[in-house]
Each structure stands twice: as structure tokens, then as C-alpha cells.
Symmetry: C2
Subunit: 193 residues, 2 copies
DNA sequence: CTTGTTTCTTAAACTGGTTCAAGTGCTATC
DNA sequence: GATAGCACTTGAACCAGTTTAAGAAACAAG
């Protein structure tokens, strides 16, 4: 198991020594998942925080009418999962699936709890991670209110160019909060110009 | 200066001893603000994280067309401010104003940085704070996509009943992502039934 | 008390995005 | 190489929410 890229990712925010790196690595559970595989399912309490080493995952919410809403894509270097379920140990409301063959690391909640307890550096790492993610989520809320769907699509393509190769358009539409039909129209308008 | 309620708030998540409590309290800068006062303005880099001791604040974004979008209300016990500006020390894109006469504590960024450095407990406190806030923001994104404006209004009233006394309807409309005119219609529909 | 200012409401015309239904194209599998 | 299944597109009817404009109600300040 090669944990060098995840350690490099973490070392962007904190500086781990040998002992900390080894301990952290020992907690990770590596896994390979195929396209379409579920990593988390609605109703089951999430036991792991998920780190994407390669490939692409998506987390989505299925509403009362049975419509899926993509809350997040996660590609190399991202953490993902149903944070509510993970944090409060309650049945998940999001599902997480692989959009392509992917390799991931699972970090079990109990281990993460002990980890941050024992090494304040990791407490810091996750504080920074959540703080940054919160900023991104705030931006997204504002953007959903103030920009048109076309602007949001343009922004999405610029911000996450690597995702277009993995993600079917219908999921991009869902992430943008529109129907696949309307995304289709937007795309046509763009090529016609 | 009485810091007992903010300390009680923090002690819900971590357990501070006398020394830590005193040190933390010594960093806080108390302030009274009147209705309409600005605590942060667009374009000015945010120096403080803001804790609301009493009263009510709102943070909002003004888009290219000059329309305000409320990102958050903050009442007793909440932290607020432009997190992006605060974290990365860049000019604020949000403004923060008092909706009523309020008392707040400012926690300067430099002090907060030193605080979490010196006391891992505070690192944990803010990790938990951001983690919880992130969960709330994820829920809000999903809700904006899957629920109608009327459902969102109902949910808002149930979740934050105390806010209705402070917050003009036009700001509630903005928070919900609709126009004041449409909120007016929703309210009428509700009373007619 | 009254005058100006802001908030809230109402109504009509309008639009960004949805819904429904049908059709095209891809690729997968037997 | 037929059949099936899914992703994507197209178009027409439709609707949730906006825009514009105006009036009513609440409020603050002299």
C-alpha cells in the first residue's frame, strides 16, 4: 500500500514527522472500487471518511420524489462521504458511488477520533479541511442564487475541468440544480454562438 | 466584561480549565453595535471572527446587479463573518450588519491563530464548529434544489423561530433565495388556507 | 402630528427552467 | 447483427418565481 500521495496532500497543510506519518498510514484501509459500486448507501450509518486516491466518486441525495441531487463530486486528493452520518453516527441520507474505477482509502471514525485526540496536528488538518470546504459551500449557495444556470455551468467547467471526462452530463445537471433537458439546451445555445 | 455565556457555549464541545478560560477571555474584544451598523464591509479584509453575545447580525453578498443575498443570520451563540476573507486575508466579499442592537465579541485572527497553536482544545473546538456548519450548508444546498420556496420558508420558521422577531421579511426572502414579492404571495397563500 | 422613508403587499405581464413525450445515438451482450 | 438499455437531445406546453409598478402600512425624526 502506497500512502505517499495522501501524505503529500496532508503535508500541504501540516508537517508530519516519520512517526506520525506511519501511524496515520497504518489506520488507512485501501480499497479498489469499480464503476457503479456503492461506497455508502442511504440508511446505513457511515463508518468511514473516504479519501480518493484515483478515479472519481459522487455523493448524492435522493428526495421524496425519487429524484437524485448530486451534492459533491470527489476526484484525486478529495475527502468525501456523508458528513452528517459520519459525525453523528446516524443513518446516511446521502449515497456515494464510483463514477469510474477508483482507488480509495477508508479512515474509520473511531480511528479518526483517536487520531485527532492523540495528534493535535491532525486536529488542525481537519479543521483547515472543513474550514476551506465551508468557504466553498458558502460560495456555492450564493452562486446558485445570483447566477443563471448557464453561468454556473461555465464556472463548473472552468473550476473542475478534469471532471468532464468522468461525469455523465445528467449528473453535472444535477450538481448544477437543473434538469438534464435544460443542460442540453444550454449546451446547444453555446455551440450555436 | 462577562464572558460566561460564550465560555458555556464552548464548554458544550470541549472542557476548558481555569487557565484556558482566562486566556481565551483575555483575547476577546467586546463591542456594542446599533441596528444598521456595519461590522464588516465589502472590500476590507476581515481581521476578526465575530461571536454574537446578544442581538442579531446578518452577512450578505451583493452581486454584480447590486442585489443583496443573505448568506447567514447570526443570533446569540453564533459565530459569523466572511470566512474566506478572514482565512485567506483577502478583501471581504460579504458585508456584516446588525439587524438589532447587539453585543458581540471580536476574536482577532492573529490571536485565534496563536490560540489554536497553543491549545489543541481550541483547535478541536473550531474543527467541530466548522464540521457542523459544513453539514448545515450541505443540507441547505440540497434543500434549495429539492424543495419549493414555500417548503423552505416553513422549514426556516421552524428551525429559527427566534429570528422572525428581528429579521425584516425582505431579508428572509433573500436568505430563501426568492424576491420579497414572492414571499408575500407565499404568506398570503398560507393565511388563506 | 406630520412628513419622509422604508417595508410589505397586490396585480399583471413575463421568463428561466420543468415536464412530458418522443426520437437519436451509443455500446453491450447474447 | 438484432435487441435492449441507457445517455443525450428536441420541442411544446406548462409553472414557479421574477419584474415592474403602484398602493398601503409601519416607522422614525423633526
Amino acid at each position: 500500500m502506497n500512502t505517499s500521495t495522501i501524505l503529500a496532500q496532508i503535508n500541504k497543510h501540516i508537517s508530519l514527522d516519520e512517526r506520525e506519518s506511519l501511524h496515520f498510514s497504518s489506520l488507512l484501509i485501501p480499497a479498489k472500487v469499480k464503476q457503479g459500486d456503492y461506497l455508502e448507501k442511504v440508511g446505513i450509518t457511515t463508518q468511514n471518511f473516504i479519501y480518493v486516491e484515483s478515479g472519481c466518486l459522487m455523493s448524492y441525495y435522493t428526495d421524496k420524489k425519487g429524484v437524485d441531487h448530486v451534492i459533491q463530486f470527489a476526484t484525486t486528493g478529495w475527502w468525501t462521504g456523508d458528513l452528517h452520518s459520519f459525525t453523528r453516527q446516524q443513518p446516511a441520507v446521502y449515497s456515494t458511488r464510483a463514477l469510474a474505477e477508483s482507488t480509495v482509502f477508508y479512515l474509520p471514525k473511531t480511528d479518526m477520533d483517536q487520531l485527532v485526540d492523540r495528534y493535535p496536528k491532525f486536529e488542525r488538518y481537519f479543521r483547515i479541511l472543513f474550514q476551506n470546504s465551508l468557504i466553498t459551500h458558502q460560495d456555492r449557495i450564493i452562486q446558485n442564487f445570483s447566477d443563471t444556470a448557464e453561468d454556473r455551468y461555465e464556472y463548473f467547467r472552468q473550476k473542475y475541468p478534469s471532471l468532464e471526462q468522468y461525469v455523465p452530463l445528467k449528473y453535472i445537471a444535477s450538481y448544477l440544480g437543473i434538469t438534464p433537458e435544460f443542460l442540453s439546451k444550454i449546451r446547444r445555445r453555446k455551440t450555436e454562438r
